[in-house]
Amino acid sequence: MSQPVIVYEPFKAGLPPMRAYLRSLWHRRAFVSEFARSELREQNFGSVFGQLWLVLNPLLLSGVYFLLIYVIGGTSDEIRFGHLTATLFLFYLIANSLTGGVKAITSGQRLILNTSFPRIMLPISAVVVAIFKFLPTLIVALAIHAILGLPYSWQMLWAIPILLISVVMALGMAILISCINVYFRDISSMLPYLTRSLLYLSPILYEASTISESIKQYQIVNPIFYLLDSWSRVLVHAEAPTTFGLLHSSLFALVIFILGTYFFLSRERDFAVRL
Protein backbone atom coordinates (compact mmCIF):
# COMPACT_ATOMS: atom_id res chain seq x y z
CA MET A 1 0.00 0.00 0.00
CA SER A 2 1.29 3.43 -0.86
CA GLN A 3 2.02 6.04 1.78
CA PRO A 4 -0.82 8.39 2.54
CA VAL A 5 -0.41 11.44 0.38
CA ILE A 6 -2.33 13.76 2.64
CA VAL A 7 -3.41 13.28 6.21
CA TYR A 8 -6.06 15.44 7.86
CA GLU A 9 -6.10 15.53 11.61
CA PRO A 10 -7.84 17.67 14.20
CA PHE A 11 -7.10 21.36 13.96
CA LYS A 12 -4.40 22.62 16.24
CA ALA A 13 -3.12 26.15 16.34
CA GLY A 14 0.24 26.02 14.63
CA LEU A 15 1.70 26.16 11.17
CA PRO A 16 0.66 23.72 8.45
CA PRO A 17 3.41 21.63 6.80
CA MET A 18 5.26 24.51 5.19
CA ARG A 19 6.94 22.76 2.27
CA ALA A 20 3.72 21.32 0.94
CA TYR A 21 1.98 24.64 1.57
CA LEU A 22 4.54 26.69 -0.33
CA ARG A 23 4.61 24.18 -3.18
CA SER A 24 0.86 24.31 -3.45
CA LEU A 25 0.97 28.12 -3.31
CA TRP A 26 3.55 28.23 -6.08
CA HIS A 27 1.52 25.86 -8.19
CA ARG A 28 -1.50 28.14 -7.86
CA ARG A 29 0.33 31.35 -8.77
CA ALA A 30 -1.52 31.54 -12.09
CA PHE A 31 -4.77 31.63 -10.13
CA VAL A 32 -3.56 34.63 -8.12
CA SER A 33 -2.88 36.66 -11.26
CA GLU A 34 -6.08 35.56 -12.97
CA PHE A 35 -8.11 36.27 -9.84
CA ALA A 36 -6.56 39.72 -9.49
CA ARG A 37 -7.26 40.41 -13.15
CA SER A 38 -10.91 39.45 -12.78
CA GLU A 39 -11.14 41.64 -9.69
CA LEU A 40 -9.76 44.59 -11.63
CA ARG A 41 -12.11 43.85 -14.49
CA GLU A 42 -15.02 43.78 -12.12
CA GLN A 43 -14.08 47.26 -10.91
CA ASN A 44 -14.22 48.37 -14.58
CA PHE A 45 -10.50 48.80 -14.93
CA GLY A 46 -10.59 46.69 -18.07
CA SER A 47 -11.81 49.65 -20.12
CA VAL A 48 -9.82 52.64 -21.33
CA PHE A 49 -11.67 55.11 -19.11
CA GLY A 50 -11.36 52.77 -16.18
CA GLN A 51 -7.60 52.77 -16.56
CA LEU A 52 -7.58 56.51 -17.07
CA TRP A 53 -9.49 56.84 -13.82
CA LEU A 54 -6.73 54.88 -12.11
CA VAL A 55 -4.39 57.76 -12.92
CA LEU A 56 -6.89 60.58 -12.68
CA ASN A 57 -8.18 59.66 -9.26
CA PRO A 58 -4.89 60.04 -7.34
CA LEU A 59 -4.01 63.05 -9.46
CA LEU A 60 -7.25 64.82 -8.57
CA LEU A 61 -6.77 63.88 -4.95
CA SER A 62 -3.31 65.35 -4.85
CA GLY A 63 -4.74 68.44 -6.58
CA VAL A 64 -7.34 68.80 -3.83
CA TYR A 65 -4.77 68.43 -1.06
CA PHE A 66 -2.47 70.83 -2.89
CA LEU A 67 -5.21 73.43 -2.98
CA LEU A 68 -6.10 72.83 0.61
CA ILE A 69 -2.67 73.10 2.09
CA TYR A 70 -0.43 75.14 -0.11
CA VAL A 71 -2.64 77.48 -2.07
CA ILE A 72 -4.82 78.41 0.89
CA GLY A 73 -1.79 78.24 3.19
CA GLY A 74 -0.09 80.72 0.93
CA THR A 75 3.10 78.87 0.12
CA SER A 76 3.72 76.69 -2.83
CA ASP A 77 6.85 75.32 -4.35
CA GLU A 78 7.68 72.46 -6.68
CA ILE A 79 9.33 70.29 -4.07
CA ARG A 80 6.24 70.29 -1.91
CA PHE A 81 3.88 69.38 -4.71
CA GLY A 82 6.28 66.66 -5.87
CA HIS A 83 6.46 65.35 -2.32
CA LEU A 84 2.70 65.37 -1.93
CA THR A 85 2.00 63.38 -5.08
CA ALA A 86 4.85 60.87 -4.72
CA THR A 87 4.06 59.99 -1.12
CA LEU A 88 0.31 60.01 -1.65
CA PHE A 89 0.66 57.46 -4.44
CA LEU A 90 2.80 55.15 -2.29
CA PHE A 91 0.37 55.61 0.58
CA TYR A 92 -2.45 54.44 -1.69
CA LEU A 93 -0.53 51.25 -2.41
CA ILE A 94 -0.66 50.48 1.31
CA ALA A 95 -4.21 51.77 1.82
CA ASN A 96 -5.59 49.86 -1.19
CA SER A 97 -3.92 46.70 0.05
CA LEU A 98 -5.63 47.18 3.40
CA THR A 99 -9.09 47.91 1.97
CA GLY A 100 -8.78 45.06 -0.53
CA GLY A 101 -7.34 42.70 2.04
CA VAL A 102 -9.86 43.28 4.80
CA LYS A 103 -12.66 41.51 2.94
CA ALA A 104 -10.47 39.06 1.04
CA ILE A 105 -11.44 36.12 3.21
CA THR A 106 -14.99 37.02 4.16
CA SER A 107 -16.03 37.73 0.58
CA GLY A 108 -14.32 34.60 -0.71
CA GLN A 109 -16.79 32.48 1.22
CA ARG A 110 -18.02 30.41 -1.71
CA LEU A 111 -14.50 29.66 -2.82
CA ILE A 112 -13.34 28.77 0.67
CA LEU A 113 -16.27 26.51 1.49
CA ASN A 114 -16.03 24.54 -1.72
CA THR A 115 -12.41 24.35 -2.74
CA SER A 116 -9.25 23.43 -0.96
CA PHE A 117 -6.42 25.84 -1.67
CA PRO A 118 -3.93 27.92 0.32
CA ARG A 119 -6.21 30.64 1.71
CA ILE A 120 -3.35 33.13 1.83
CA MET A 121 -3.79 33.49 -1.93
CA LEU A 122 -6.83 35.71 -1.36
CA PRO A 123 -5.10 38.55 0.55
CA ILE A 124 -2.10 38.16 -1.78
CA SER A 125 -4.45 38.74 -4.73
CA ALA A 126 -5.74 41.88 -3.01
CA VAL A 127 -2.17 43.21 -2.83
CA VAL A 128 -1.59 42.29 -6.47
CA VAL A 129 -4.66 44.37 -7.35
CA ALA A 130 -3.27 47.27 -5.30
CA ILE A 131 0.07 46.97 -7.12
CA PHE A 132 -1.70 47.03 -10.50
CA LYS A 133 -3.45 50.20 -9.40
CA PHE A 134 -0.18 51.68 -8.16
CA LEU A 135 1.94 51.14 -11.29
CA PRO A 136 0.26 53.75 -13.51
CA THR A 137 0.47 56.31 -10.71
CA LEU A 138 4.22 55.69 -10.52
CA ILE A 139 4.48 56.81 -14.14
CA VAL A 140 2.42 59.90 -13.32
CA ALA A 141 4.71 60.65 -10.38
CA LEU A 142 7.74 60.45 -12.67
CA ALA A 143 6.03 62.68 -15.23
CA ILE A 144 5.26 65.27 -12.54
CA HIS A 145 8.87 65.00 -11.42
CA ALA A 146 10.01 65.90 -14.94
CA ILE A 147 7.46 68.69 -15.42
CA LEU A 148 8.33 70.34 -12.09
CA GLY A 149 12.03 70.14 -12.97
CA LEU A 150 12.96 68.32 -9.78
CA PRO A 151 16.52 67.00 -9.45
CA TYR A 152 17.75 63.61 -10.63
CA SER A 153 20.57 61.47 -9.30
CA TRP A 154 21.69 57.86 -9.04
CA GLN A 155 20.43 57.88 -5.45
CA MET A 156 16.94 57.60 -6.92
CA LEU A 157 17.63 53.91 -7.51
CA TRP A 158 17.04 53.51 -3.79
CA ALA A 159 13.38 53.64 -4.79
CA ILE A 160 13.59 49.99 -5.82
CA PRO A 161 14.46 48.56 -2.39
CA ILE A 162 12.03 50.98 -0.75
CA LEU A 163 9.29 49.78 -3.08
CA LEU A 164 10.13 46.20 -2.13
CA ILE A 165 9.85 47.09 1.55
CA SER A 166 6.47 48.71 0.82
CA VAL A 167 5.21 45.59 -0.92
CA VAL A 168 6.28 43.41 2.02
CA MET A 169 4.56 45.87 4.36
CA ALA A 170 1.40 45.88 2.22
CA LEU A 171 1.36 42.08 2.10
CA GLY A 172 1.82 41.80 5.85
CA MET A 173 -0.95 44.31 6.57
CA ALA A 174 -3.38 42.75 4.07
CA ILE A 175 -2.77 39.23 5.38
CA LEU A 176 -3.10 40.30 8.99
CA ILE A 177 -6.26 42.36 8.54
CA SER A 178 -7.99 39.73 6.36
CA CYS A 179 -7.49 37.25 9.17
CA ILE A 180 -8.63 39.62 11.93
CA ASN A 181 -11.77 40.43 9.96
CA VAL A 182 -12.84 36.78 10.08
CA TYR A 183 -13.06 37.00 13.85
CA PHE A 184 -14.24 40.59 14.18
CA ARG A 185 -16.35 41.55 11.19
CA ASP A 186 -16.71 45.18 12.21
CA ILE A 187 -13.03 45.83 11.53
CA SER A 188 -13.92 46.42 7.89
CA SER A 189 -16.20 49.30 8.83
CA MET A 190 -13.56 50.81 11.11
CA LEU A 191 -10.89 50.58 8.45
CA PRO A 192 -11.66 53.86 6.62
CA TYR A 193 -11.01 55.76 9.87
CA LEU A 194 -7.81 53.82 10.40
CA THR A 195 -6.45 54.59 6.94
CA ARG A 196 -7.56 58.20 7.22
CA SER A 197 -5.69 58.60 10.51
CA LEU A 198 -2.67 56.93 8.99
CA LEU A 199 -2.82 59.42 6.13
CA TYR A 200 -2.72 62.41 8.48
CA LEU A 201 -0.12 60.93 10.80
CA SER A 202 2.28 60.18 7.97
CA PRO A 203 4.51 62.68 6.20
CA ILE A 204 2.31 63.17 3.15
CA LEU A 205 0.53 66.49 3.60
CA TYR A 206 3.69 67.78 5.29
CA GLU A 207 7.34 66.86 5.11
CA ALA A 208 8.95 64.88 7.90
CA SER A 209 11.56 67.62 8.36
CA THR A 210 8.91 70.27 9.11
CA ILE A 211 7.47 68.73 12.26
CA SER A 212 8.92 69.44 15.68
CA GLU A 213 11.18 66.98 17.45
CA SER A 214 8.72 66.55 20.30
CA ILE A 215 6.06 65.24 17.93
CA LYS A 216 8.53 63.37 15.82
CA GLN A 217 9.61 61.12 18.68
CA TYR A 218 6.15 59.55 18.72
CA GLN A 219 6.33 58.81 15.01
CA ILE A 220 8.56 55.86 15.77
CA VAL A 221 5.40 53.81 16.36
CA ASN A 222 3.93 54.68 12.94
CA PRO A 223 5.00 51.78 10.71
CA ILE A 224 4.93 53.79 7.50
CA PHE A 225 6.31 57.13 8.71
CA TYR A 226 9.92 56.50 7.79
CA LEU A 227 8.93 54.49 4.74
CA LEU A 228 7.19 57.50 3.24
CA ASP A 229 9.95 59.82 4.42
CA SER A 230 12.57 57.66 2.68
CA TRP A 231 10.43 57.50 -0.45
CA SER A 232 10.19 61.28 -0.55
CA ARG A 233 13.94 61.77 0.04
CA VAL A 234 14.79 59.37 -2.74
CA LEU A 235 12.20 60.20 -5.35
CA VAL A 236 11.60 63.90 -4.76
CA HIS A 237 14.86 65.18 -3.34
CA ALA A 238 17.02 62.63 -5.20
CA GLU A 239 18.98 62.03 -2.00
CA ALA A 240 19.99 58.81 -0.30
CA PRO A 241 17.57 57.66 2.42
CA THR A 242 18.75 57.73 6.04
CA THR A 243 20.01 54.45 7.45
CA PHE A 244 17.61 54.82 10.34
CA GLY A 245 14.69 55.34 7.96
CA LEU A 246 15.55 52.23 5.99
CA LEU A 247 16.08 50.12 9.09
CA HIS A 248 12.90 51.37 10.74
CA SER A 249 10.72 50.63 7.72
CA SER A 250 12.27 47.26 6.89
CA LEU A 251 12.01 46.16 10.50
CA PHE A 252 8.34 47.15 10.68
CA ALA A 253 7.62 45.54 7.31
CA LEU A 254 9.27 42.29 8.32
CA VAL A 255 7.66 42.15 11.75
CA ILE A 256 4.18 42.86 10.36
CA PHE A 257 4.69 40.38 7.53
CA ILE A 258 5.97 37.58 9.75
CA LEU A 259 3.39 38.20 12.47
CA GLY A 260 0.54 38.45 9.97
CA THR A 261 1.59 35.37 8.04
CA TYR A 262 2.07 33.31 11.19
CA PHE A 263 -1.28 34.41 12.54
CA PHE A 264 -2.97 33.68 9.23
CA LEU A 265 -1.36 30.31 8.53
CA SER A 266 -2.00 29.00 12.00
CA ARG A 267 -5.67 30.03 11.75
CA GLU A 268 -6.60 29.45 8.13
CA ARG A 269 -7.81 25.87 8.55
CA ASP A 270 -10.37 27.26 10.91
CA PHE A 271 -11.75 29.81 8.40
CA ALA A 272 -14.17 27.47 6.62
CA VAL A 273 -15.95 26.86 9.92
CA ARG A 274 -16.10 30.54 10.82
CA LEU A 275 -17.58 31.84 7.61
Binding site: S2, I6, Y8, R110, T115, F117, V273
Partner: protein, 268 residues
Protein backbone atom coordinates in the same frame (compact mmCIF):
# COMPACT_ATOMS: atom_id res chain seq x y z
CA UNK B 1 -4.44 21.32 -1.04
CA UNK B 2 -2.37 19.31 -3.46
CA UNK B 3 -2.68 20.12 -7.09
CA UNK B 4 -3.77 17.58 -9.58
CA UNK B 5 -0.62 17.36 -11.59
CA UNK B 6 1.64 16.84 -8.60
CA UNK B 7 0.75 13.20 -8.40
CA UNK B 8 0.37 10.82 -11.19
CA UNK B 9 0.32 7.63 -9.29
CA UNK B 10 -0.87 4.37 -10.68
CA UNK B 11 -3.52 3.04 -8.39
CA UNK B 12 -4.43 -0.58 -8.69
CA UNK B 13 -8.03 -1.57 -8.19
CA UNK B 14 -8.73 -2.38 -4.57
CA UNK B 15 -6.00 -0.25 -3.02
CA UNK B 16 -7.22 2.28 -0.52
CA UNK B 17 -8.04 5.74 -1.84
CA UNK B 18 -9.50 7.39 1.24
CA UNK B 19 -9.40 6.07 4.74
CA UNK B 20 -11.63 7.74 7.30
CA UNK B 21 -10.98 6.66 10.86
CA UNK B 22 -13.39 7.41 13.67
CA UNK B 23 -14.18 10.84 12.29
CA UNK B 24 -15.93 13.39 14.44
CA UNK B 25 -16.74 16.94 13.45
CA UNK B 26 -18.12 19.54 15.77
CA UNK B 27 -18.88 23.01 14.51
CA UNK B 28 -18.75 25.90 16.89
CA UNK B 29 -21.01 28.48 15.40
CA UNK B 30 -21.42 31.89 16.83
CA UNK B 31 -24.82 32.84 18.17
CA UNK B 32 -24.50 36.41 17.00
CA UNK B 33 -25.19 36.75 13.36
CA UNK B 34 -21.68 37.96 12.78
CA UNK B 35 -18.79 37.91 15.23
CA UNK B 36 -17.86 41.53 15.88
CA UNK B 37 -15.47 43.34 18.14
CA UNK B 38 -18.39 45.39 19.43
CA UNK B 39 -20.30 42.29 20.51
CA UNK B 40 -17.20 40.87 22.14
CA UNK B 41 -16.55 44.06 24.12
CA UNK B 42 -20.21 44.33 25.16
CA UNK B 43 -20.18 40.86 26.62
CA UNK B 44 -16.79 41.28 28.35
CA UNK B 45 -16.87 40.19 31.96
CA UNK B 46 -20.41 38.86 31.73
CA UNK B 47 -19.19 35.36 31.04
CA UNK B 48 -21.76 35.08 28.29
CA UNK B 49 -21.33 32.21 25.89
CA UNK B 50 -20.85 33.36 22.32
CA UNK B 51 -21.08 30.06 20.66
CA UNK B 52 -23.22 27.02 20.20
CA UNK B 53 -21.85 23.66 19.18
CA UNK B 54 -23.28 21.45 16.46
CA UNK B 55 -22.20 17.87 16.12
CA UNK B 56 -22.10 17.27 12.40
CA UNK B 57 -20.31 13.92 12.29
CA UNK B 58 -19.86 11.35 14.97
CA UNK B 59 -17.55 8.33 14.87
CA UNK B 60 -17.67 7.76 11.13
CA UNK B 61 -15.19 5.20 9.82
CA UNK B 62 -14.97 4.04 6.25
CA UNK B 63 -12.50 3.04 3.56
CA UNK B 64 -12.96 3.94 -0.06
CA UNK B 65 -10.98 1.77 -2.44
CA UNK B 66 -9.93 2.51 -6.00
CA UNK B 67 -12.45 1.23 -8.47
CA UNK B 68 -15.30 2.08 -6.13
CA UNK B 69 -18.12 4.47 -6.86
CA UNK B 70 -19.42 5.35 -3.45
CA UNK B 71 -22.80 6.96 -3.10
CA UNK B 72 -23.72 8.87 0.02
CA UNK B 73 -27.37 9.26 0.93
CA UNK B 74 -29.18 10.73 3.87
CA UNK B 75 -31.72 13.39 4.70
CA UNK B 76 -30.91 17.10 4.92
CA UNK B 77 -28.47 17.86 7.71
CA UNK B 78 -27.26 14.27 7.89
CA UNK B 79 -23.65 15.39 7.52
CA UNK B 80 -23.12 14.43 3.90
CA UNK B 81 -21.61 17.72 2.80
CA UNK B 82 -19.60 17.96 6.01
CA UNK B 83 -18.08 14.56 5.30
CA UNK B 84 -17.20 15.69 1.77
CA UNK B 85 -15.60 18.87 3.08
CA UNK B 86 -13.50 17.01 5.60
CA UNK B 87 -12.31 14.47 3.04
CA UNK B 88 -11.33 17.21 0.63
CA UNK B 89 -9.45 19.11 3.33
CA UNK B 90 -11.65 22.18 3.46
CA UNK B 91 -12.69 21.70 7.07
CA UNK B 92 -10.36 20.06 9.58
CA UNK B 93 -11.83 17.18 11.59
CA UNK B 94 -12.45 17.58 15.32
CA UNK B 95 -11.64 13.96 16.05
CA UNK B 96 -10.16 11.09 14.16
CA UNK B 97 -7.95 10.95 11.14
CA UNK B 98 -8.28 10.94 7.38
CA UNK B 99 -5.73 9.58 4.96
CA UNK B 100 -5.98 10.40 1.30
CA UNK B 101 -3.93 8.39 -1.18
CA UNK B 102 -4.03 10.34 -4.40
CA UNK B 103 -5.09 13.64 -5.89
CA UNK B 104 -8.54 14.88 -5.02
CA UNK B 105 -10.81 17.04 -7.07
CA UNK B 106 -13.98 18.35 -5.54
CA UNK B 107 -17.16 19.44 -7.19
CA UNK B 108 -19.08 20.60 -4.15
CA UNK B 109 -20.75 23.54 -5.76
CA UNK B 110 -20.94 24.66 -9.34
CA UNK B 111 -19.12 27.67 -10.70
CA UNK B 112 -16.88 28.29 -7.73
CA UNK B 113 -14.51 31.08 -8.57
CA UNK B 114 -16.54 32.25 -11.54
CA UNK B 115 -16.84 35.98 -12.02
CA UNK B 116 -20.02 37.35 -13.56
CA UNK B 117 -18.27 40.26 -15.21
CA UNK B 118 -15.97 38.04 -17.26
CA UNK B 119 -16.77 36.09 -20.41
CA UNK B 120 -17.43 32.36 -20.39
CA UNK B 121 -14.01 31.79 -21.90
CA UNK B 122 -12.25 33.74 -19.15
CA UNK B 123 -14.31 31.95 -16.53
CA UNK B 124 -13.19 28.59 -17.86
CA UNK B 125 -9.66 29.66 -17.00
CA UNK B 126 -10.65 31.19 -13.68
CA UNK B 127 -12.70 28.17 -12.61
CA UNK B 128 -10.10 25.72 -13.88
CA UNK B 129 -7.31 27.49 -12.04
CA UNK B 130 -9.46 27.59 -8.90
CA UNK B 131 -9.96 23.85 -9.25
CA UNK B 132 -6.21 23.37 -9.28
CA UNK B 133 -5.51 22.93 -12.98
CA UNK B 134 -2.55 24.64 -14.58
CA UNK B 135 -2.95 27.08 -17.45
CA UNK B 136 -1.40 24.58 -19.85
CA UNK B 137 -3.87 21.89 -18.80
CA UNK B 138 -6.76 24.26 -19.42
CA UNK B 139 -5.33 25.29 -22.80
CA UNK B 140 -5.18 21.64 -23.78
CA UNK B 141 -8.71 20.96 -22.60
CA UNK B 142 -10.39 24.20 -23.57
CA UNK B 143 -12.00 22.94 -26.76
CA UNK B 144 -13.33 19.87 -24.98
CA UNK B 145 -14.83 22.05 -22.25
CA UNK B 146 -16.43 24.43 -24.75
CA UNK B 147 -17.83 21.54 -26.79
CA UNK B 148 -19.16 19.75 -23.75
CA UNK B 149 -20.96 22.85 -22.50
CA UNK B 150 -22.66 23.32 -25.90
CA UNK B 151 -22.59 27.07 -25.41
CA UNK B 152 -21.44 27.81 -28.94
CA UNK B 153 -20.68 31.49 -29.49
CA UNK B 154 -22.05 32.43 -26.09
CA UNK B 155 -18.74 31.32 -24.63
CA UNK B 156 -17.37 34.77 -25.49
CA UNK B 157 -20.30 36.64 -23.98
CA UNK B 158 -20.08 38.01 -20.43
CA UNK B 159 -21.31 35.55 -17.86
CA UNK B 160 -23.93 37.93 -16.48
CA UNK B 161 -25.86 37.41 -19.73
CA UNK B 162 -26.10 33.66 -19.11
CA UNK B 163 -29.21 31.87 -18.02
CA UNK B 164 -28.83 29.76 -14.91
CA UNK B 165 -28.86 26.65 -17.05
CA UNK B 166 -26.03 27.97 -19.21
CA UNK B 167 -24.07 28.86 -16.10
CA UNK B 168 -24.52 25.38 -14.67
CA UNK B 169 -23.60 23.72 -17.96
CA UNK B 170 -20.35 25.61 -18.24
CA UNK B 171 -19.51 25.02 -14.59
CA UNK B 172 -20.11 21.30 -14.89
CA UNK B 173 -18.08 21.14 -18.10
CA UNK B 174 -15.06 22.74 -16.42
CA UNK B 175 -15.26 20.26 -13.58
CA UNK B 176 -15.88 17.28 -15.83
CA UNK B 177 -12.62 17.49 -17.75
CA UNK B 178 -10.53 17.25 -14.59
CA UNK B 179 -9.27 13.71 -14.31
CA UNK B 180 -8.23 13.27 -10.70
CA UNK B 181 -7.57 10.04 -8.81
CA UNK B 182 -10.42 10.77 -6.46
CA UNK B 183 -13.43 12.80 -7.53
CA UNK B 184 -15.93 14.08 -5.00
CA UNK B 185 -19.23 15.34 -6.39
CA UNK B 186 -21.94 16.90 -4.25
CA UNK B 187 -25.37 17.27 -5.86
CA UNK B 188 -23.95 18.58 -9.08
CA UNK B 189 -25.47 16.13 -11.51
CA UNK B 190 -28.91 17.61 -11.56
CA UNK B 191 -28.02 20.57 -13.74
CA UNK B 192 -29.43 21.76 -16.99
CA UNK B 193 -32.18 20.23 -19.06
CA UNK B 194 -32.90 16.53 -19.57
CA UNK B 195 -30.46 16.33 -22.46
CA UNK B 196 -27.59 17.81 -20.48
CA UNK B 197 -28.47 15.75 -17.44
CA UNK B 198 -28.15 12.58 -19.49
CA UNK B 199 -24.89 13.85 -20.90
CA UNK B 200 -23.39 14.59 -17.50
CA UNK B 201 -24.54 11.23 -16.24
CA UNK B 202 -22.78 9.47 -19.08
CA UNK B 203 -19.66 11.55 -18.37
CA UNK B 204 -19.76 10.30 -14.79
CA UNK B 205 -20.00 6.76 -16.12
CA UNK B 206 -16.93 7.39 -18.27
CA UNK B 207 -15.05 8.50 -15.19
CA UNK B 208 -15.83 5.19 -13.49
CA UNK B 209 -12.52 3.46 -14.11
CA UNK B 210 -10.62 0.92 -12.06
CA UNK B 211 -7.89 3.37 -11.08
CA UNK B 212 -10.23 6.05 -9.83
CA UNK B 213 -12.49 6.48 -6.84
CA UNK B 214 -15.69 8.45 -7.12
CA UNK B 215 -17.71 9.73 -4.21
CA UNK B 216 -21.16 11.03 -5.03
CA UNK B 217 -23.65 12.77 -2.82
CA UNK B 218 -27.17 12.89 -4.12
CA UNK B 219 -30.81 12.80 -3.22
CA UNK B 220 -31.57 11.22 -6.56
CA UNK B 221 -31.71 7.65 -5.34
CA UNK B 222 -32.24 6.17 -8.79
CA UNK B 223 -29.08 7.85 -10.06
CA UNK B 224 -27.13 6.61 -7.07
CA UNK B 225 -28.41 3.09 -7.64
CA UNK B 226 -27.48 3.31 -11.30
CA UNK B 227 -23.98 4.74 -10.85
CA UNK B 228 -22.63 3.36 -7.60
CA UNK B 229 -21.35 -0.01 -6.57
CA UNK B 230 -21.40 0.86 -2.89
CA UNK B 231 -23.59 3.14 -0.83
CA UNK B 232 -23.39 4.56 2.66
CA UNK B 233 -26.27 6.09 4.52
CA UNK B 234 -25.70 8.85 7.02
CA UNK B 235 -28.20 10.07 9.53
CA UNK B 236 -27.53 12.86 12.03
CA UNK B 237 -23.81 12.46 11.62
CA UNK B 238 -23.62 8.72 12.19
CA UNK B 239 -23.10 5.93 9.72
CA UNK B 240 -26.35 3.94 9.58
CA UNK B 241 -25.58 1.40 6.88
CA UNK B 242 -23.07 0.59 4.24
CA UNK B 243 -22.99 -1.90 1.42
CA UNK B 244 -24.87 -2.94 -1.66
CA UNK B 245 -26.72 0.01 -3.23
CA UNK B 246 -30.06 -1.77 -3.60
CA UNK B 247 -30.13 -2.95 0.01
CA UNK B 248 -28.97 0.30 1.59
CA UNK B 249 -31.34 2.38 -0.49
CA UNK B 250 -34.21 0.06 0.39
CA UNK B 251 -33.36 0.37 4.09
CA UNK B 252 -33.15 4.15 3.76
CA UNK B 253 -36.49 4.34 1.97
CA UNK B 254 -38.10 2.22 4.63
CA UNK B 255 -36.59 4.37 7.39
CA UNK B 256 -37.83 7.55 5.76
CA UNK B 257 -41.30 6.09 5.32
CA UNK B 258 -41.46 4.96 8.92
CA UNK B 259 -40.46 8.39 10.09
CA UNK B 260 -42.98 9.99 7.81
CA UNK B 261 -45.84 7.80 8.97
CA UNK B 262 -44.84 8.25 12.60
CA UNK B 263 -44.91 12.00 12.29
CA UNK B 264 -48.16 11.96 10.37
CA UNK B 265 -49.65 9.86 13.17
CA UNK B 266 -48.63 12.54 15.63
CA UNK B 267 -50.59 15.11 13.74
CA UNK B 268 -53.78 13.12 14.07
Amino acid sequence: MISLSDFNHDHSQGSIAVSVQNLGLTYTTSIDKKPTLKARIKSLGRGKKHTRTVKALNGVSLDVRYGTVLGIIGSNGAGKSSLMRVISGIVPPTEGRIEVHGSVSTLLALGVGFNQAMTGRENVYLGGLAAGMSRAEIDANFQAIADFSELGEAIDAPMRTYSSGMFARLAFSVAAVVEPDILIVDEALSTGDAHFKAKSLSRMKELRTADRALILVSHALATIEDLCNEVIWLDKGTLMARGNPTEVIAAYREFMNVRKSASSDEDV
